[in-house]
Subunit: 133 residues, 3 copies
């Protein structure tokens, strides 16, 4: 149940590339954390000119007009090692899918307890089980 | 001060239905948690084709092209029982308002300490009082 | 690495004013928390009619159709005093930049551990250092 929001420049990517981006984010869970492939829950939001602002070089990057944000609502039980693995997988797979630089992929991992995810029908199926995913 | 973001398919709902959706989310607080009706703070975001991705059956659901995300910034003092009550109310009221299946309502409850909500004028009125709402 | 999302009424602000809003949010970090000016990471999202709902008077405000949400992903190590300083700076600088009332600026501070921020290249540079920013 990690859920992704990708915030991308408007009009830059075709439908096929948007699907490839969703696949990349889904695969970052599979390859980075061993999460089942069916766990695929992603939103994309397009932002027009002067709606995405990133400093061009802060923290040693060389950012371009392809710069994007990835927000990930991640189970709060995840230790630092899992976060490192996930972020590395996101960067690798998203840069491949979009043909952009890793410098342009900014990620925020927002911790959410597993009991805070409802997959539908008004239930919280992970509230009373050991953390997974 | 729970604040909602609803992420919905673009062009699917009229203005009247959008207002009904906002009412439903507001009422989920009133009916699910006993929060005052005036506590009504909601954003809707439309997503075009290939901008919302949800696995069609993961965790036993039958999702359709009406599938939507509800993100709720919820006071971090809320116990599991409150979360169960709130999510059940969201599912019940949103499906009534939109005429969609409960399988299509994915919810994420993001914990935020009450001291992190400013209702305006640059203040944090809940920072120095017992948790409420 | 505080990251901002500003959710604003669609079509209301010119490109120049959007840039001024981004500058205001960036300066709220500089002036409110002593964060370096280069730490400028901001998204703006426009919402159409019936896509932003705020109660007109709840908690003693007089809100208008200029009402907006500011979501800030803030280091979870920040104490209440820092949050107060930041929210006051956001309100002061955003109202100056947009020419709106402080009653129209709703802020949510979402705590994110510093190890959850990747500035690019798939790294988590703040995972193994003392909290800063």
């Amino acid at each position: 149940m990690p859920v992704f929001e990708a915030h991308i420049p408007a009009g830059r990517y075709s439908d096929d590339v948007k699907i490839a981006l969703a696949d990349a984010l889904n695969q970052s869970l599979v390859q980075g954390l061993g999460i089942p492939e069916g766990d695929r829950f992603i939103m994309l939001t397009e932002h027009g000119p002067n709606e995405i602002f990133m400093h061009p070089t802060f923290m040693g990057m060389q950012r371009s007009d392809a710069a994007m944000f990835v927000i990930c609502y991640l189970g709060s039980h995840r230790p630092t090692e899992d976060k490192k693995s996930l972020v590395a997988a996101i960067e690798r797979l998203v840069t491949e899918a979009l043909g952009i630089s890793g410098d342009d992929v900014f990620v925020v991992l927002v911790p959410v307890p597993n009991e805070g995810f409802s997959f539908g029908r008004g239930g919280l199926p992970l509230a009373d089980v050991d953390p997974k995913w």
